[in-house]
């Protein structure tokens, strides 16, 4: 170890500095009274005040969160069901095909997904707005949840289910008392992944917003044409803090979940 360990620590520090420098830069200038990002002139909270005075922007922020929460919750439910279905497929080839189809949706470019949704929604006459954004966010989140839950299912020993059945558990009991508690970390991971995907998605959302309904990424992008005002910095700072809180929350949930088996309670629901 010794020298090598030190070197890798330095490397890690550099990587994190590079990752966080732009965010730190942005946060720093959100307090600049000068109104631009060259040279700090003085401390001000004016931009934060501006954010809270801009009702349209606040509505858009709320929209963004509503969509993120609803779409990730719904897609988690759908995704868990999908993962269970794929898990229970017997034939290897069908299983692989289903899994590949799922993965194709993850890697296919957002622009294409967005454009196809736009065409679909206008074709079947869904008005662009809340519904269209929600539906498309659910659609691109489901494959992510599937891929987070499926490994957990495969990791689970099949004898667990057999044992439960031997002890007289019905299918519903097996599902709610054995399978779901076992894959819970995967479900939460999927939920949080879906949440972040939905929060920062621009490409798909851009196509399916309409009629005054917009989300934050789309709004910031169209404002950026006039040069990003520092109120966007302020807003981004607030959102960054919120994500940090979310991640910390997720960390604690995970830790609690990890502690339970160690405490000897095992798989008690």
């Amino acid at each position: 170890m010794g020298r090598n360990g030190k070197l890798s620590n330095v490397y890690l520090a550099v990587v994190f500095a590079i990752l966080y420098a732009p965010i730190a830069y942005l946060i720093f200038y959100s307090f600049n009274s000068g109104g631009h990002m060259r040279g700090f002139e003085g401390f001000t909270l004016e931009w934060y005040r501006e954010v809270f005075a801009d009702t349209r922007l606040l509505i858009i922020v709320l929209n963004t969160f509503i969509i993120a929460l609803l779409s990730s919750a719904i897609s988690t439910i759908l995704g868990v069901a999908g993962a269970l279905a794929i898990y229970h497929v017997r034939r290897k080839r069908t299983k692989n095909t289903l899994l590949s189809l799922n993965n194709v949706l993850i890697v296919s470019p957002d622009v294409i997904i967005g454009a196809s949704f736009l065409i679909l929604f206008t074709m079947i006459g869904i008005k662009l707005g809340f519904t269209s954004v929600l539906l498309s966010h659910i659609a691109f989140s489901v494959p992510i949840v599937v891929i987070m839950v499926l490994p957990k299912l495969q990791e689970m020993s099949p004898t667990l289910m057999d044992a439960a059945r031997d002890l007289g558990a019905g299918s519903w009991q097996i599902l709610t008392r054995v399978v779901l508690p076992y894959v819970k970390p995967g479900i939460f991971a999927g939920f949080f992944m879906a949440l972040t995907y939905s929060l920062d998605d621009f490409a798909v959302t851009f196509f399916v917003t309409g009629n005054g309904y917009s989300t934050l990424s789309v709004e910031i992008y169209s404002r950026a044409r006039q040069g990003v005002s520092l109120s966007i910095n302020a807003l981004s700072t607030l959102l960054f803090l919120l994500t940090v809180l979310l991640v910390v929350g997720y960390y604690f949930i995970n830790r609690r979940a990890a502690r339970i088996p160690a405490g000897g309670k095992g798989l008690r629901p």
């Binding site: 060259r38 779901l180 950026a224 044409r225």
Partner: protein, 357 residues
């Protein structure tokens, strides 16, 4: 299991709580009435107070949406799905929309304030008789430069760009018509020239500019120039005013050989549901007082002659943004060259880009 159910119940409850809050905010804004007007505009391109005033005056609720490029706007309108009542594209997008029959003719009888528009900006090639579009803002293509770094050049002529002192100091915006147009202008030809010899000569001339060209960039050109990454930039006047707002050392000049004159104009898309309201809004924006306030807020040049009189002198007499008659007479609006010629322009521009370094 209990924890899962509890967590997801909590998520749904939180989402619905947020929804109630959002609809409350919406109501407090009065966005929920039936009589609405949907406006589709560039980001940050209107004084928000004017929208509020219009709502009070007309009793209509304004739904305001923004786009970032003509192409994005075109896609949304072509595809339908959203009913925009008023949109504000640039003139070349308007020609395209006209061709594709995406516009509703504008009834001039409903626009008593149309008389305020300077006649220089009416009845132009891209929309004769202003059948479909009413000018909103206008501007030019010119040169932003840093007087400290260009060694006394004043850019009265495009040819100043070729000065060897500017080696590796010029940023060009990434637009075929702007750059090829600059080449044509520097030779004294029209921006809309389709003569192959003239075009080749322009390309030749541009290729000798390459030692001076530092980069060909998109929207980030504003930031780069404001941060003094380069001494000179070829930009639209609207961008120039923003750059100069950020860095007052810089100056803007439209060379005397002539340049491009561009417009962003108000149109009524075919999908409009509230055509009457759209007319009311356009007329509202043509009011001298409103147009003046809007011009002051946005910082672009207003085509409204009456509004111009109301603007403070340091704006209205700024010849960089309101050039005098001699120069305006040399400014040209882009003609719709047709698909074939346009792709030829693009090819020439690509050739130029490939050879610059």
């Amino acid at each position: 299991m209990k924890q899962l159910v509890r967590t997801f119940a909590l998520v749904f409850v939180a989402a619905f709580a947020l929804m109630i809050l959002a609809s409350y905010l919406n109501k407090s804004q009065g966005y929920s009435g039936g009589n609405t007007l949907t406006i589709y505009n560039w980001g940050d391109y209107i004084d928000p107070d004017l929208l509020k005033e219009f709502e009070q005056e007309s009793g209509m609720k304004v739904i305001y949406q923004t786009f970032d490029s003509n192409e994005a706007m075109l896609t949304k309108i072509e595809q339908g799905g959203t009913t925009f009542d008023v949109a504000i594209p640039s003139e070349y997008a308007i020609s395209k929309m006209k061709e594709e029959k995406l516009l509703v003719p504008i009834d001039h009888n409903k626009l008593p304030n149309l008389k305020n528009i300077d006649s220089r900006f009416l009845n132009l090639n891209y929309d004769p008789d202003n059948q479909f579009s009413i000018p909103y803002f206008w501007g030019t293509v010119g040169i932003v430069y840093n007087p400290e770094l260009v060694g006394g050049l004043t850019f009265d002529s495009w040819n100043d760009l070729w000065d060897p002192r500017l080696k590796n100091q010029i940023l060009l915006l990434d637009g075929a018509r702007e750059v090829i147009g600059m080449g044509l202008n520097s030779l004294g030809y029209s921006l809309n020239d389709t003569n192959e010899d003239h075009l080749q000569a322009a390309l030749q001339k541009l290729s000798t500019l390459t030692p001076n060209v530092r980069a060909i960039v998109g929207d980030e050109i504003k930031m780069l120039l404001a941060n003094e990454e380069a001494a000179v930039g070829l930009v639209w006047s609207g961008d120039a005013s923003e750059i100069m707002d950020q860095n007052d050392k810089l100056d803007y000049k439209v060379p005397e050989e002539g340049s491009n004159l561009w417009f962003d104009s108000m149109v009524i898309p075919k999908t409009a549901k509230n055509v009457d309201g759209a007319h009311q809004f356009i007329n509202f924006m043509l009011d001298p007082d409103h147009a003046a306030r809007n011009a002051e807020y946005v910082g672009y040049s207003t085509p409204n002659a009456e509004a111009l009189k109301q603007l403070p002198e340091d704006i209205s007499e700024d010849e960089r943004f309101y050039p005098d008659e001699t120069l305006t007479s040399k400014l040209e609006v882009y003609n719709n060259l047709g698909k074939k010629m346009l792709s030829h322009y693009n090819d020439l521009f690509l050739e130029f880009k490939m050879h610059s370094k």
